[in-house]
């Protein structure tokens, strides 16, 4: 029994780290700009397919695809922002619909270009098993864990130490007042979207190396990421990481102790419980105002 739990705890942590990677981009645009980018899952997916393109064409390690993936996701991300920027009324609701529409467009574009086949890495190096004591993992999973830790730290540092982080939040808090501070709202928001693009590109490549991708995956990724974001509490980047790990572990434990058919159920119940009893999320310090 102990061995069983040990392995599932470990697996849960690794899966959680990918949830975190996917969630960070959403957490950034939502936490900072109150804009939920419903096309974020598709951005991640797009990056994953770039990894597939690079791997299948050149045989290189999928991680070599990060520059290409970044170029593509950043472009799409910028396009998304330029469209959102044109919305004047009811920005929060309308941007939701707009990004949803963009997600539909991307999903179908991916379907048209890459067909509905399932894709995943073939690199033996990444797929090889490693054991840490009595627990096992794929190389790619450990790598993704480390990458997600680094990315999280990087993002956290950026939001903390660059003027952008504060500025983005100021813009979403009060646009006019932020302009009076000398902030160019478009510039900082665009920067946030580009960073979200970077995050998506890394997440996509990591996803490709340790899981299976297919065109219809986008919305599921977005929802999971958003659940993690809310679980964490808006505005807390380390919180996203912890919440993602918690979700991963909870799911793995459900599989081990009960049935794998209940995994999603337990995840959702956990989410609701947190939402009702800790409306600010597990790590969100800020008051949520109506």
């Amino acid at each position: 029994m102990f061995e069983l739990l040990q392995q599932s705890l470990f697996s849960g942590l690794l899966v959680g780290s990918v949830y975190a990677l996917v969630a960070l981009g959403i957490a950034l645009t939502f936490g900072a700009m109150k804009i939920i980018n419903l096309a974020h899952g598709e951005l991640v997916l797009l990056a994953a397919y770039m990894a597939y393109v690079i791997e299948s064409r050149t045989g290189w390690n999928p991680y070599a695809a990060i520059p290409l993936a970044f170029a593509v996701t950043a472009l799409v991300s910028i396009a998304i922002y330029l469209l959102i920027e044109r919305i004047r009324e009811h920005r929060e609701l309308n941007s939701l619909i707009l990004t949803f529409a963009i997600g539909v467009i991307l999903t179908n574009a991916i379907l048209l270009v890459f067909a509905s086949d399932v894709r995943s890495t073939n690199s033996p190096l990444l797929q090889d098993a490693v054991s840490l004591g009595s627990v096992y993992a794929m190389n790619s999973e450990l790598l993704a864990f480390v990458v997600s830790l680094l990315v999280m730290a990087g993002l956290w540092w950026w939001l903390r130490n660059s003027w952008y982080g504060r500025a983005v939040r100021a813009v979403s808090s009060n646009r006019d007042a932020s302009m009076l501070m000398g902030i160019d709202p478009r510039r900082v928001e665009l920067a946030a979207f580009i960073v979200a693009g970077i995050l998506a590109s890394v997440a996509g490549v990591a996803l490709y190396t340790m899981s299976v991708v297919q065109p219809a995956l986008g919305p599921a990724l977005t929802v999971k990421a958003f659940v993690v974001t809310v679980l964490a509490g808006v505005g807390s980047i380390p919180g996203v990481f912890c919440a993602a790990l918690l979700l991963g572990v909870t799911e793995a434990m459900t599989v081990t102790l009960a049935s794998s058919a209940l995994q999603e159920l337990v995840g959702m119940v956990l989410f609701l419980l947190v939402l009702f009893f800790m409306p600010n999320g597990l790590f969100g310090a800020r008051a949520r105002r109506g």
Partner: protein, 317 residues
């Protein structure tokens, strides 16, 4: 008189369609599906517009309505008209479980409802002794023949749905025009301000959730008896959450007729025009249409027609 023009036009169109296409099962089938979406879109818009709550999970009510009605009519032998009502009530009852979510605002509420939809879907899969599990549930009665009208025929279903959509629209209108409607409109963005003048915000919002769930459940139940097959993936499909949102926004979710017209138009556009142009991936056109609409006419099709009411929100600067 001018104000009722769109409504009159819609009514004429609704009457004309069976006269022109009555023999064409395909068109009538599309209309029926479109009207189902229209009903849910209306319910969604009611909650969104009056309750100020954006829901991502109306599939929950839709599915519960469908299963409740199907199971009661098949296993308990309830006559279908009653089971439809029971389905609607079942959905409303389910929304009681969601009342705690009313404390949440904006995206938090939307996501909480989505979580509920997931949970109900998984329950429907797991409680296979009642629901038939993922294998699905079939062989339950179709819509009955009453007073010589066979409601299970395409034209019969169509007539039923037109009447139901119209009834729900009237209820919606009555609520919206009442003082309750005015108070609800304000509550979305200024809850404290409304409460200190004596509005019991929680209660009013609860009523809206209940009403919206009721309507959605009703249409879910009708759809079940029209399609005559249920399985969790279908009854609780994300489509029942997403399509109505698209339709409502497209038509103008702050209007009453917008969601209805939006649903039918979007559905027909997607199925007739988009599918013709792009057999695979035709939803890309839907996406483009929706994105364009939000950018060009954020208040939807009907919002475009409506002369801007004095004092309506407008963009400053």
């Amino acid at each position: 008189m001018m104000r009722n023009l769109p409504a009159a036009a819609l009514l004429v169109a609704a009457l004309a369609i069976p006269l022109v296409f009555g023999g064409n099962g395909y068109i009538m089938g599309l209309m029926v599906s479109g009207l189902i979406v229209a009903g849910v879109a209306l319910a969604w818009a009611l909650l969104g517009n009056l309750g100020g709550m954006v829901s991502f999970g109306h599939a929950a009510f839709f599915g519960v309505g469908a299963y409740t009605s199907a199971i009661l009519s098949a296993k308990a032998g309830l006559p279908v008209p009653l089971s439809l009502l029971a389905g609607a009530l079942g959905a409303a009852l389910c929304s009681l479980v969601m009342l705690p979510a009313l404390r949440l605002s904006g995206p938090y509420f939307a996501l909480a409802i989505l979580a509920y939809a997931h949970i109900f879907k998984i329950l429907a899969t797991e409680l296979s002794s009642i629901t038939g599990g993922s294998a699905g549930f079939q062989r339950f009665p179709t819509l009955p023949t009453i007073a010589g009208i066979d409601f299970s025929s395409r034209t019969g279903s169509y007539a039923l749905l037109v009447v139901m959509v119209a009834l729900c629209a009237l209820v919606y209108r009555a609520v919206k025009r009442s003082h309750v409607g005015t108070a609800l409109r304000a509550m979305a963005e200024s809850e404290d301000a409304t409460r200190v003048v004596g509005v019991n915000a929680t209660l009013l919002k609860s009523w809206m959730l209940l009403l919206s769930a009721f309507i959605t459940g009703l249409f879910g139940a009708m759809n079940a008896h029209i399609i005559n097959f249920l399985e969790p993936d279908y009854a609780f499909s994300g489509n029942w959450s997403v399509l109505p949102i698209i339709a409502a926004i497209f038509g103008g979710y702050r209007t009453i007729l917008g969601p209805v017209a939006g649903a039918v138009l979007i559905y027909l556009f997607d199925q007739i025009i988009a599918k013709e142009l792009l057999p695979v991936g035709h939803q890309i056109l839907l996406g483009l249409l929706l994105a364009g609409m939000i950018l060009v006419a954020p208040n939807g099709l009907f919002g475009l027609f409506q002369t801007r009411r004095k004092g309506a929100p407008h963009a400053a600067a």
